[in-house]
């Protein structure tokens, strides 16, 4: 394991951006100068100024405040969805890899089926059929992305299961559940953290797309994807409406991807050495 201090500067920058975004999401109610949904009919479509740092949108809502609350929505939802995905994927992957046999065959069949479905299409269809709500979004995201997790977890479990010490622990009378939780889970923990981190980035992008299509977060909830959709008509005259949320998504995803790389470095995962971005 290499030292945090030795990591390249770029990772530290990414960490700073991420921390800035997360803290502004957490403290949005304190930082935001306006209520994100407060409509100011006299101040519609203002450009950047002291009163409105990033201007206002067509309804006169303060863009900066909406960006802050958008971070809150995006990050909290992405983390929640990634958690659900991870829990489902890890549980099924561990069961499948550890017990093998018919259970493994069934779960692997499910994995193959879910990986054979184009994820975003399914998300659109599920969100479309169930109607847009946080629950249906969570359901759509979890259902379409657990398979990748479980596949990787299963592979790791298969590797660890053959180790001698697992045999030893079992002969001492440890139950399967105990072994899974106390021996297998800690072993795959590092890989999981990385997968989890990178997954948050992917989910932020998917959710933004769904919101852009009107299938994600519902108005008047401030969401970056929805803000871009609102900006579609005005962007020529008011580029701030388009650029601010877009750049925020870009910065958030890029820094999450970089943090994923930094974690690979920290955990010394050799096979991914060449895959790092920077």
């Amino acid at each position: 394991m290499c030292n945090i201090k030795q990591l390249p500067v770029i990772y530290k920058i990414a960490a700073c951006i991420l921390m800035l975004m997360v803290s502004s999401a957490i403290f949005a109610p304190i930082i935001a100068p306006y209520d994100p949904n407060q409509v100011l009919p006299d101040e519609t479509l203002q450009s950047c100024s002291g009163a409105h740092l990033l201007g206002t949108d067509a309804l006169g809502r303060d863009v900066f405040s909406r960006i802050l609350y958008g971070a809150r929505v995006s990050i909290s939802f992405a983390v929640a969805a990634a958690l659900c995905t991870m829990i489902l994927g890890v549980t099924l992957g561990m069961i499948s890899g550890y017990f093998g046999g018919i259970i493994d065959t069934i779960i692997q069949l499910l994995v193959n089926i879910f990986q054979g479905l184009p994820g975003m299409s399914m998300m659109i269809a599920i969100a479309g059929v169930m109607g847009p709500s946080t629950i249906s979004l969570l359901f759509a995201v979890t259902l379409t992305s657990w398979a990748g997790f479980s596949r990787i977890v299963r592979g790791e479990v298969l590797k660890i299961r053959e180790e001698n010490y697992i045999e030893g622990v079992r002969s001492l009378g440890a139950s399967d559940f105990y072994i899974l939780v106390h021996y297998i889970l800690p072993n795959i923990f590092n890989s999981l953290i990385i997968l989890f981190t990178v997954r948050i980035g992917t989910i932020v992008l998917s959710i933004a797309s769904l919101s852009f299509l009107g299938l994600g977060m519902q108005p008047p909830e401030a969401d970056w994807g929805a803000m871009i959709n609102d900006a579609k008509i005005y962007f020529r005259s008011y580029p701030n409406l388009l650029l601010a949320p877009g750049l925020c998504i870009l910065a958030l995803c890029a820094s999450i991807n970089l943090i994923g790389d930094a974690l690979r470095d920290l955990f010394s995962i050799e096979q991914d050495r060449n895959k790092q971005y920077l």
């Binding site: 479905l117 399914m122 659109i124 269809a125 992008l205 994807g225 998504i249 895959k275």
Partner: protein, 315 residues
Amino acid sequence: MNDILFYLVKKLLMIIPVLLGITIAAFILGIISPSDPAAVLLNMDGVSTPSAQEIANKRHEMGLDRPLIVQYLSWLLQILHGDLGISYITQRPIWDELMLRLPVTISLASCTLLLVIVTAIPLGVFMAYKNNSRSDFVLRTAALIFTSVPAFWLAILFMWIFSEELHLLPTSGYGTLAHLIMPSVALGAGTIGILMRLQRAALLEVLEQHFILTAKAKGMPFPMIIWKHGLLNSLIPVITLLGNYFGAIISGSAVIESIFSLPGLGSYVLEAIRGRDYPAIQGYVIFTGLVFVLFNLLVDISYLLLNPKIRLGGK
């Protein structure tokens, strides 16, 4: 020869459960949808507020009171005959509507895929060749940005710059290749970023292999070694993942089609969602799933061409 046949049959058999899974997923979508097909059909027939008895009769007529498994099987049989039901909105067969729109999505997806392959693979090779140089760093930064940028935002930026400011490309519509340029780039950007990185990593991994040393010992220049021994070997892992990325392209096309007003499967499903046309959404799932599965089969076949070990039945 037998080995090839065996491989192909195995791959064909393996897609059967996936195809069944797709239909099951689509069927379940139909079940969880909040509307009652019987009520909708009665509405179509002009009964605006059907009584409970009328609905029950209609349900019985449509077979909706049978066990789910029977319903699924008869529905599956219909699909196999190319019958996906009637659209609630247009009242036309959904199969025909989807077939009408399929070429648009296919052409957008193939255009994007072609773009991805011809840009990402050479760039990835170049990055590996110039490993850790300044140009490698610049391209890796570009790859990071491509993977992190939302496609729909990029699409709007392109429209702004290339259509509205520079008047180079048409904003929307379908017909010529020029109409597909911006959509393809916007749709492919994310995949280009991922694939660049992947190709670079795959080639770097190959370059550490023993046989590259053998080739060096023969006195051949490095670019020639990459061309003759590095490229093909690094393409094998990259091609395997190409199937996955095609899924991202096919499903991402919904957003891009809606922005550029391309009359493909994606804009169709968005209309269907707006109109609560659930059978059409089911049809969309089946169609995109089918395209994805068939493409993956194609990838498996191309894999056969690339990898002699599989072609000739090695261990």
